[in-house]
Amino acid sequence: MGDLLLVTIQVDLYDRIAEALEADLVQMISKTGAQGVLIDISAVNIIDSFMGRIIGNIATMSKVLDAETVVVGMQPAVAITLVELGLPLNGVLTALNVERGMTVLRTKIDSKDNGSEDGNTE
């Protein structure tokens, strides 16, 4: 999808799948030179601390590779679980749905592109 990568997670994530996802995604980012990553977790009903950390890791890794990560469509129950686990995913952008996530990424990328010229505004 242009310079954006869209990852849709359709099943409940198990540790191994999650780790594979992490590796694949980083590979894809470097291969395609994507500027933004959208992770759609609207179909995920169960999450644990490991998964929370993987998502956090993916965000940090993409940032290192100069791409922004937006997690979209989180279920209320999942959000509550993450907070109760003490993983508020600081530094990860979030959005309600894919559409909103795209907008967030677009503005983020635009401001990054212009940022070098006119000093960015939030």
């Binding site: 997690v71 989180m74 209320p76 959000a79 993450l82 995913l89 979030t94 959005a95 749905n97």
Partner: protein, 280 residues
Amino acid sequence: MKNEAIKVFQKRKKNIQETWMKFQLNDDALRDDLMTNEDLRRQSEELLATLTESLDDSNIDDPKSSSFDPVVDILSAISISRAKHGYSPRETGAYVFSLKDALLHTLQQDIKDPQELYVQSLKISRLIDSFGITTFETFIKGREEVILRQTDEISEISTPVIRVWDGIVALPIIGTLDSARTQIVMESLLQQIVETSSSIAILDISGVPAVDSLVAQHLLKTVSATRLMGAECIISGIRPEIAQTVVHLGIDLSGIITKASLASALKTAFNILHLQVVKK
């Protein structure tokens, strides 16, 4: 051979009933404002009839015997209905114990042998005492049910999520925030965010009497959860006293947008959504 006391009771049921009613009507604990005397009489008759029926040689020493189940059922029904009608514990207790007075009174008249009278009185005392305890247990259970129902109702009423604008929801919190309530507040807020796909949530805490570190932590959790969903959370309605306590307790609210009033929170929300209110 039949137990002396049982024989007396079965023979003089009518008499006991009268004595009991007399005791009850003379008692200060009588609440004719909550129940008419006829209802009371009917209730008492039913209880006494069931008691004399189920009482026999084998179970007079054993109040836990299953043959008393009908009696216990009636007692439970009576005490639960009393709990709901607002009788005090003393009044409910007095009701059962006045039956003991009536029974003992009749025994005293009919059994002439002091030794036998003593033995029988003791048995009856023990039996009715046990019924008294059962009554109390169910009375308290009845009360607890009332309290539980009210708590449920309060927590349901007290978390209305209001859609104030397209994409903006507000949740006024009234009353103390504890863990259970925070959970409900959080759930209904997040649910509403998903349903209305709002990007801004305003938590108004002007109705929260006090904010301690625990309440603040609950608020922070709610804010984090909303952020995870992809919405921004604004806390409004912070009174001066609350601002003072928050600072004194050293709670860090710097990562959250806080506003003094709901109006200014709404203004901020409009700003974030690039909306403008124009006078016509």
